[in-house]
């Protein structure tokens, strides 16, 4: 168990190294652009070269990479080219904002999709099952940008009850959070619902459920005491992986609603070749990916004692 977690940590460090190196190389393909983006299209060749030299761009790439790596390890992420402040100053508030968005989304998605999934899987093939299954396919088929446009058209343009942007310029406003969460939840709940339904349907076919039904237990008891416990193991893993999905899934939503979050930051950094911001964001992304995966795997073994680490 401990060994498993430690091995995962090792994998995480190795993955971080490879990803950060790849990013450095990838961004190296277009070095001249950085200076142009910072100084503007009307800067002279000389100005650009001066800027590049001042920021150490003429050093060999391995030197720059190891300098960054050395600083990163001791917690210095470098300075953002675009925001002209240390990366941490922009990164952490943005990450917190996305955390709020993700938590609110999960708060909607998890109960809704678990209830719908269990209801659908309880009686496979029933009208209720078909309705839930088809509507979850339909909602998953609508891309986030499309549902953002559709929902804004209804709630902002037609009904005029919700704000169309979520910049939060005057402090935190719950109203501005509703539309982004709605868009994310609509796109995401279908998948979790379908996984829950499949898991529930499988459990309903097992011998122990048949035994419980045949020995005359009330249907409610069969579901609540026998079926649910086993049916909710798979959705747990799926939900953990949704956290990772949300980190990149929010890009579109944050861009559309001008929400100041992690996804919007990463998009802006990528478009501006803001190398240290990209690297820091990527490291956060890898960390979240490996961490959620590990929690999912460890949690899985706790929930399902039949599986043990080998």
């Amino acid at each position: 168990m401990m060994i498993f977690v430690l091995r995962r940590c090792g994998t995480m460090v190795l993955t971080m190294l490879v990803v950060s190196l790849l990013l450095f190389l990838l961004l190296e393909i277009s070095p001249g652009n950085v200076a142009t983006k910072v100084l503007g299209p009307y800067s002279s060749e000389e100005q650009r070269n001066l800027w590049l030299e001042a920021h150490g761009y003429f050093d060999p790439i391995y030197e720059r990479y190891f300098r960054w790596l050395g600083n990163f390890v001791i917690g210095d992420f470098g300075d953002s080219i675009r925001f002209k402040v240390p990366v941490g100053e922009v990164l952490w508030p943005r990450l917190a904002n996305t955390g709020i968005l993700a938590l609110a989304t999960l708060g909607v998605v998890v109960p809704v999709s678990l209830i719908l999934g269990v209801l659908a899987g309880m009686r496979e093939g029933s009208t209720l099952d078909r309705t839930i299954s088809v509507s979850s396919i339909v909602t998953t088929s609508v891309p986030e940008f499309a549902s953002a446009v559709l929902l804004s058209a209804v709630f902002v343009f037609l009904l005029d009850i919700l704000p169309g942007t979520s910049g939060m310029s005057e402090g935190f406003d719950l109203k501005q959070l509703i539309l982004p969460v709605m868009v994310l939840a609509v796109y995401d709940f279908g998948y979790v619902t379908r996984m829950t339904r499949a898991s529930m349907a499988e459990v309903m076919l097992t011998h122990y459920i048949r035994t419980a039904v045949l020995k005359g237990l009330p249907y409610k008891t069969v579901i609540a005491r026998h079926a649910l416990r086993n049916a909710l193991i798979t959705p747990f893993t799926v939900i953990m992986l949704q956290i990772n999905w949300l980190l990149s899934g929010v890009i579109v939503v944050e861009y559309y609603f001008a929400y100041k979050g992690f996804g919007a930051l990463l998009l802006e950094a990528s478009l501006n070749s803001d190398i240290f911001v990209i690297e820091a964001c990527a490291m956060v992304a890898v960390f979240v990916a490996v961490a959620t995966q590990t929690i999912a795997d460890v949690g899985y073994t706790y929930l399902n004692p039949r599986i043990r680490f080998s």
Partner: protein, 294 residues
């Protein structure tokens, strides 16, 4: 016995099987609806030149609501956009772009992912370790972020979109194929082929791959839907196909600021892309339902 005589019946049976599964699909109403939606868009894409009432890039009359008459007699059924291009015509021509680059990117991703998965699953050992690590590295990176960085770095063009989608989707396909191969490689017909002394590549391509096709076809349908969403997202973020060509995601991006006053401009491309993705998802669901039945 020559190899020819072995291969001919095999090929027939696979064609027959394909027809059988298509016939089976008729039993799944959901799958048939999906197939109908896809066929509709394929026909629209093929006959876009004949069906579209106006040239897709012609600027005729800006900011016109749906159903307005055009100056030269025609009708703007879905209105025009901010610089006066007919939205219906652009959606029809946009279908062409989506239905060329979506499948193309998916096929490219599969032609990279399948060999990787076969090698990892069948050869195993160090090959598996290395390939799995590479896949994990790419997969631990949020997919959309990967697209954005690749496209923002190497520039936005049709080829680069295909490259980015291939790069980001191949590891997922590799994992699926690897899992299927691990299950199939201990089957008797694989042992038989090994005993016959067939080379590994032949066992992978002729014995294992055809038997793994069921789940892969379902996955391909789902993935095609995702790829279409991705191409749409890239267009929406301004990283899609270069401007004048009609691209559904790009159309939404260009007109969303005006969505408050002219909601039709962004609304119809949204419906177009959603319906096409829905078609592929329904088809995948139908195929899965049918394949589980027997």
């Amino acid at each position: 016995m020559s190899e020819q005589t072995i291969e001919i019946p095999r090929r027939e049976s696979s064609i027959l099987l394909a027809f059988k599964s298509l016939a089976l699909l008729r039993e799944s109403a959901v799958g048939m609806v999906g197939l109908a939606i896809i066929l509709f868009w394929v026909l629209v894409a093929i006959f876009a030149d004949l069906l579209a009432p106006f040239p897709p890039n012609a600027t005729i009359m800006p900011l016109v609501m749906p159903g307005t008459e055009a100056p030269d007699g025609g009708m703007f059924l879905l209105g025009t956009d901010h610089i006066g291009r007919d939205i219906l015509s652009r959606i029809m021509h946009g279908a062409r772009q989506v239905l060329i680059y979506g499948p193309l990117a998916t096929v490219c991703a599969y032609s990279v992912g399948i060999p990787m998965g076969l090698a990892a699953g069948y050869v195993g050992g160090l090959t598996d370790e290395i390939l799995s690590f590479v896949a994990n590295v790419i997969l631990s990176f949020p997919v959309l972020v990967l697209y954005v960085i690749i496209i923002a770095t190497i520039g936005a063009s049709a080829v680069n979109i295909v490259v980015a989608v291939t790069f980001a989707s191949a590891p997922g396909i590799m994992r699926i194929v690897r899992g299927l191969v691990l299950d199939l490689r201990s089957r008797e017909y694989v042992f038989a082929a090994q005993t016959r002394g067939e080379p590994p590549w032949r066992i992978m391509a002729v014995e294992i791959l055809p038997n793994a096709r069921g789940p892969l076809i379902v996955d391909a349908c789902l993935r095609l839907g995702y790829v279409i969403i991705t191409i749409g997202v890239l267009g929406f973020l301004g990283l899609g196909l270069p401007p004048p060509d009609p691209d559904w995601g790009g159309m939404i991006n260009e007109t969303r600021q005006m969505a408050m006053a002219f909601p039709h401009m962004a609304l119809f491309p949204c419906l177009a892309i959603s319906s096409l993705v829905l078609g592929f998802n329904l088809l995948a669901d139908g195929l899965r339902e049918v394949s589980l039945r027997d």
